[in-house]
């Protein structure tokens, strides 16, 4: 069969989501942000939320998220995205509000806002990209940096006695009564991308149905900050990050306690 016979509109099985803008992303080659942006655009499109979704952009690498996904966006101060999402959600209860934050934004300066938004059970989606580093500012240590990991501010590796232990934010917020769905996913393989999309879809559905706060953590790579190729970063993440940040659903109130797999 000739290539021209295969490449026809009726045979298309995968294409760029309609809500992803034509702008070329500013992210480094191989950055996980691009994949997650694509998944968010697909989920908003599939749930028909393009007129009602309002995103809250963080400070960090994803600060220009509003340039890439074609829905309404507000830029929050550093770490304050869940607080702003609370305001938007209370003023416009018919809208579906989501935040898109990195680990430095959410787990360090924004930890109080995150915990209190989750404990109030705001009907929002919090998407956390956990790559264990401050990517945009040049690779400093974040609260989620693994023990022993070398960064610009821990050049000999993170030490627990000096810098503390890596923070598992998903496990912390899963203990709060306001959260209805807490999950940790990754986007390093095609299978993981499909699972992450299903998790995001569930989170957006929960926000639409006013079930409480949904928290989706995506364990991600930062090939520039980690000083590795994108492929090597994915392998390093699977070997090292998943031991401390195991993937899977941590809490789902749709499943009665004690029966979860």
């Amino acid at each position: 069969m000739k290539r021209e016979d295969i490449i026809k509109p009726e045979n298309k099985v995968y294409s760029r989501p309609r809500l992803l803008d034509k702008n070329i992303m500013h992210y480094c080659p191989g950055c996980s942000h691009g994949v997650v942006h694509k998944l968010v655009a697909e989920v908003i499109e599939e749930l028909g939320l393009e007129d009602s979704a309002i995103g809250i952009a963080p400070v960090g690498c994803a600060v220009f998220a509003y340039n890439y996904i074609d829905c309404d966006w507000i830029e929050a101060a550093h770490g304050r995205a869940p607080a702003l999402a609370t305001a938007v959600n209370r003023l416009y209860p018919s809208k579906v509000v989501f935040t898109y934050q990195g680990d430095g934004d959410l787990a360090a300066i924004g930890s109080a806002e995150t915990i209190h938004a989750c404990t109030r059970g705001e009907n929002i989606v919090i998407i956390m990209i956990n790559n264990g580093i401050y990517g945009m500012t040049g690779g400093q240590m974040s609260p989620c940096t693994l023990e022993g990991a070398k960064t610009a501010t821990t050049p000999y590796g993170r030490r627990a006695d000096l810098n503390g232990f890596p923070l598992r934010v998903s496990n912390v917020v899963s203990l709060l009564d306001g959260t209805c769905y807490v999950t940790r996913q990754a986007v390093h393989t095609p299978a993981a991308v499909r699972k992450a999309k299903a998790a995001l879809k569930k989170a957006f559905t929960n926000a639409r149905d006013k079930k409480g706060t949904s928290f989706v953590e995506i364990v991600a790579t930062c090939s520039s900050g980690w000083k590795m190729t994108p492929d090597k970063s994915n392998k390093w993440m699977a070997e090292n990050m998943f031991a401390h940040y195991p993937l899977g659903d941590i809490k789902d109130t749709a499943i009665p306690a004690g029966t979860a797999q």
């Binding site: 995968y14 992303m25 393989t189 095609p190």
Partner: protein, 76 residues
């Protein structure tokens, strides 16, 4: 037995040559251009072994810049 024919198109100006699609492809269809670069200086991906494609969309799923479109025909 049904035979599956697939094809991918890559927007070469959008590609950043991150190599993730090349690694994800189960049939070794894709490769990065060894010498040629796009306008922004990246060695973009191209279907080097196009006949082997089965249209599984693994490359498109992991592509961070969403520059891959996948087509598939099942011949019965």
């Amino acid at each position: 037995m049904a035979k599956i024919h697939g094809a991918v198109t890559i927007e070469q100006e959008r590609c950043k040559g991150c190599d993730l699609c090349v690694v994800a492809c189960p049939c070794d269809v894709l490769a990065l251009q060894p010498k040629e670069v796009n306008d922004r200086g990246y060695h973009f991906a191209y279907p080097q072994n196009a006949e082997a494609c089965i249209g599984c969309a693994a490359c498109a799923l992991v592509c961070p810049d969403a520059c891959i479109e996948v087509y598939k025909v099942v011949e019965r």
